[in-house]
Symmetry: C2
Subunit: 119 residues, 2 copies
Amino acid sequence: MDKVNLAEKLSLFSDHWNPRIVGELNGQHIKLAKFKGPFVWHHHEHEDELFLVVQGTLKIEFRDKTLELQEGEFLIVPKGVEHRPVAEEEVSVLLFEPASTLNTGNEQNRLTRPSLESI
Amino acid sequence: MDKVNLAEKLSLFSDHWNPRIVGELNGQHIKLAKFKGPFVWHHHEHEDELFLVVQGTLKIEFRDKTLELQEGEFLIVPKGVEHRPVAEEEVSVLLFEPASTLNTGNEQNRLTRPSLESI
């Protein structure tokens, strides 16, 4: 059992759309990721998903609106809701979601990361 | 579905050791709390608990050591592990834990908050 420093963990990787696991509790993962550019439209059949912006600005597009999150803001995307994260500039994000969650949800493509590294 | 600004939510209350619910996903709660002074020694029988410092410094005492968390640092306290949060100065903390989690765990006393307000 030791503490986790978000900035320190974020300094360990630089690639985009490849979340790292930095904590696990109650069957849930705490992940850190860097996003840049547009992701893919997807939804998660069974998992609600939380995005907390650690640094930068993150847009999350929905079919009927777009929400913009700044540092210190989070959004919970309920299961089943189609969304697409978009980052005009690089953004660092903390994710909180069940260990079973696949990053691209129902869409399997080149951005899908079936197994994530723990750092 | 709307975003949550941590600073804005924290401005809505000033009492200590009385967590507010600011989000719910997958049977887990996202809570915000302000701590000041020493809490009580306790453990959670069934729940791991995450403390993420939003502002200030938080010490978490264990029977064999003390960890000090600064802003941007988190700690997961596994179920069953006795701990006591202590804040020499006021600290703002984000908690991730199952909706079933009672703040004082196995100890029922004047600090116990059986039902929490959502803000």
